[in-house]
């Protein structure tokens, strides 16, 4: 629900202008979507690792395609674009091994991002709990 008097400030690494537009200061909804996105990014990350190890390029591309919008919902458009470039690379190369370095980088970046997202989710939960109490 909207709380026009109480504004949540997203941490500096998030695109707060975009998130404000997306959630219109409805931090309950933002919390729900963040929580759900974090869960799904975690799930898709494990699937991506499995697809890379099995050498299935098209399946790997589909995983990143599916994961991509999740970074938009959590206010990380740069990461969204990064994943989009990697998705495109999956279509461009012939052999999965050509992607190994980029793949290892993106997996590491997404892993770090998950930590950051969990911290933000914790902040949001505290904010929403404080409102209730």
């Amino acid at each position: 629900m909207n709380n026009p008097g109480v504004h949540y400030m997203f941490s500096g690494r998030f695109d707060s202008a975009y998130l404000s537009e997306l959630y219109a200061n409805d931090i309950d909804t933002a919390q729900e979507i963040f929580e759900s996105s974090i869960n799904h990014i975690g799930i898709e990350l494990n699937i991506a690792i499995s697809r890379f190890n099995s050498g299935d390029l098209e399946a790997l591309r589909r995983v990143f395609h599916k994961m991509k919008p999740l970074f938009g919902y959590v206010g990380l458009p740069m990461l969204h674009d990064y994943v989009q470039r990697f998705e495109q690379r999956c279509s461009d190369v012939k052999h999965i091994e050509e992607l190994r370095k980029e793949y290892e980088d993106i997996i590491s970046v997404i892993g770090d991002t998950l930590d950051m997202l969990r911290q933000e989710l914790y902040r949001m939960k505290s904010f929403n709990n404080a409102k209730v109490s």
Partner: protein, 228 residues
């Protein structure tokens, strides 16, 4: 009346996100949320909706393959993160294309397009009626109805090709039809004014059919037709 919809989306946060926007708008009710095209097709085979929010890349059938299999096509808003699908979207005449993630304002613009088309369609649909004949519903375009004749508890609808008899009363039909296009000319007849071929004294003729015009109705009939 709200726009009825179905969300077809394999990624749960995207479906949740869309559902929240629908709730926030107060314009769209979500009748079902399906994670793949097969479930959506099963739902749509038994339920009518105004709108499908449709993802493209899904396990099994993709969004376009699903559209190919639909018996009737509601309006479609494609929701995808791949702008490359815009050309196909155009080919499939979808109402709008939302690139994920999209803002609430962009969502609202798309929904307003749907509403506008829905209203235009509703206006066009007013130009026909379904009548029950021998246990089935038959569609009659207003323009095709030459006249209606009372037969006690039944009414005969006459078109250039066929005659249909249905259980109804002239009183009901008078309320439903009489206006600019149709006019009651006799206690047993309502005619389509644009179908009249000629009028002589107290009789009018429509495609060889002779229809009496009562004295009490004659003045209003003459008022409604273009007499030089």
């Amino acid at each position: 009346m709200k726009i009825t919809s179905i969300i077809v989306e394999d990624l749960q946060p995207s479906a949740d996100f869309l559902q929240k926007f629908c709730e926030r708008s107060g314009l769209v009710s979500v009748n079902a949320s399906c994670p793949d095209a097969e479930q959506a097709l099963a739902f749509l085979s038994e339920n009518l909706v105004d709108l499908i929010f449709l993802d493209v890349e899904m396990p099994g059938l993709n969004g376009f393959q699903m559209l190919d299999q639909l018996v009737y096509q509601p309006q479609v808003i494609l929701t995808t993160s791949k702008p490359e699908y815009a050309y196909n979207a155009f080919e499939y005449k979808v109402t709008d294309f939302l690139k994920k993630p999209f803002t609430y304002q962009r969502f609202l613009d798309a929904v307003q397009k749907v509403e506008k088309i829905r209203q235009q369609t509703a206006e066009t649909e007013d130009e026909h009626i379904f009548i029950k004949v021998n246990g089935k519903l038959v569609k009659l375009k207003y323009d095709d109805i030459l006249f209606m004749e009372s037969m006690g508890d039944y009414v005969k609808f006459v078109t250039p090709e066929k005659r249909y008899i249905t259980l109804n009363t002239m009183k009901n039909l008078e309320q439903k039809f009489c206006g600019n296009q149709f006019c009651k000319v006799h206690r047993s007849y309502i005619v389509n004014l644009s179908a009249i071929d000629d009028i002589q004294e107290n009789t009018l003729y429509i495609k060889g059919n002779e229809i009496p015009v009562s004295k009490s109705n004659k003045a209003s009939v003459l008022q409604k037709i273009n007499v030089l």
